[in-house]
Subunit: 174 residues, 2 copies
């Protein structure tokens, strides 16, 4: 499946409501439990997605579309959300994510990207030349990867509670 | 984290709305794409969850609570949903799942399970003796495992589309 705005945007649009349906109002341990030291809880995952809305996808897309002399992306700080999310509640983060994502999708739609724009290139600090099409596909896959991660982290909170069923639940040992 | 109804039921309650927020109205390839022969698409995952509501969790819990002479569970058919879902739309399956899950949670709540009931045992056809507490924890972890699977299967539809970013997205190669 190749990235097209018609296929990709519907996934991007659904992520805020999906996370809210999954997480809002859950007992605390589901939200704060992680997979061990230096790993993300559900809360951390949402904070990381918020940070990406501000600094990753749209700023990089703008850099590509501008086709200026500097097409090299700023490195993305994968732990900046720890600082930025401190003191916020999960609901605040979910609200912030929904608002930022809504704005970003409106902007993305307003660009009415065609084949020409999608083929334009930027430079990733470690991966080298990448196209706008690849960046936008990655935005979608990144959402889904974090949804998978949140589900896995939550499932692992019951790794011992399931007893012998652990053998049938590969998600508990990934 | 040990299983308690107070912690586990909120997750079980949220799964139908989470799946609806994620999947309802998406372009077809997201719903029907899978990971290769004999693997589940998002549609298959929802069908499998529907089948579990009918034949797995609650029937097994009833068998345990009855403490009759036969406490051995019927084997669960992990491919029955293929037959049962044939000809149905995703929306029909999502509606069916929400209805069955709602009924099952109402029943589960009506049992007001305490320590004594949660410690009762049944016999799994291959795993041997298991407690009601383990069965209910597994119900929760199973939901989350399938949500992780759906997210992963969807992400993989963009495995090639992301280009060099594949190296940063472990979900694409799980």
């Amino acid at each position: 499946m190749d990235f097209t705005p018609a296929d990709g945007i519907p996934v991007l649009e659904r992520t805020p409501a999906t996370l809210r349906a999954l997480l809002a109002g859950l007992p605390g341990p589901w939200v704060t439990g992680n997979e061990g030291p230096e790993t993300f809880s559900a809360f951390d995952n949402v904070g990381h997605l918020v940070h990406g809305e501000r600094t990753d996808w749209i700023p990089r897309a703008k850099l590509i579309l501008a086709q200026g002399t500097n097409r090299r992306f700023e490195p993305f700080d994968r732990f900046a959300h720890v600082r930025e999310s401190a003191g916020k509640s999960l609901i605040e983060l979910l609200d912030e994510f929904a608002r930022l994502r809504g704005d970003n999708i409106a902007l993305l739609r307003s660009w009415t990207l065609g084949e020409r724009e999608l083929a334009l290139q930027g430079e990733h600090p470690t991966l080298g030349p990448v196209t706008l099409r690849q960046l936008l596909a990655t935005w979608v896959a990144h959402d889904l990867g974090h949804l998978a991660q949140i589900s896995r982290v939550m499932a692992k909170q019951y790794r011992d509670a399931v007893g012998p069923w652990r053998a049938f639940l590969p998600v508990l040992d990934r």
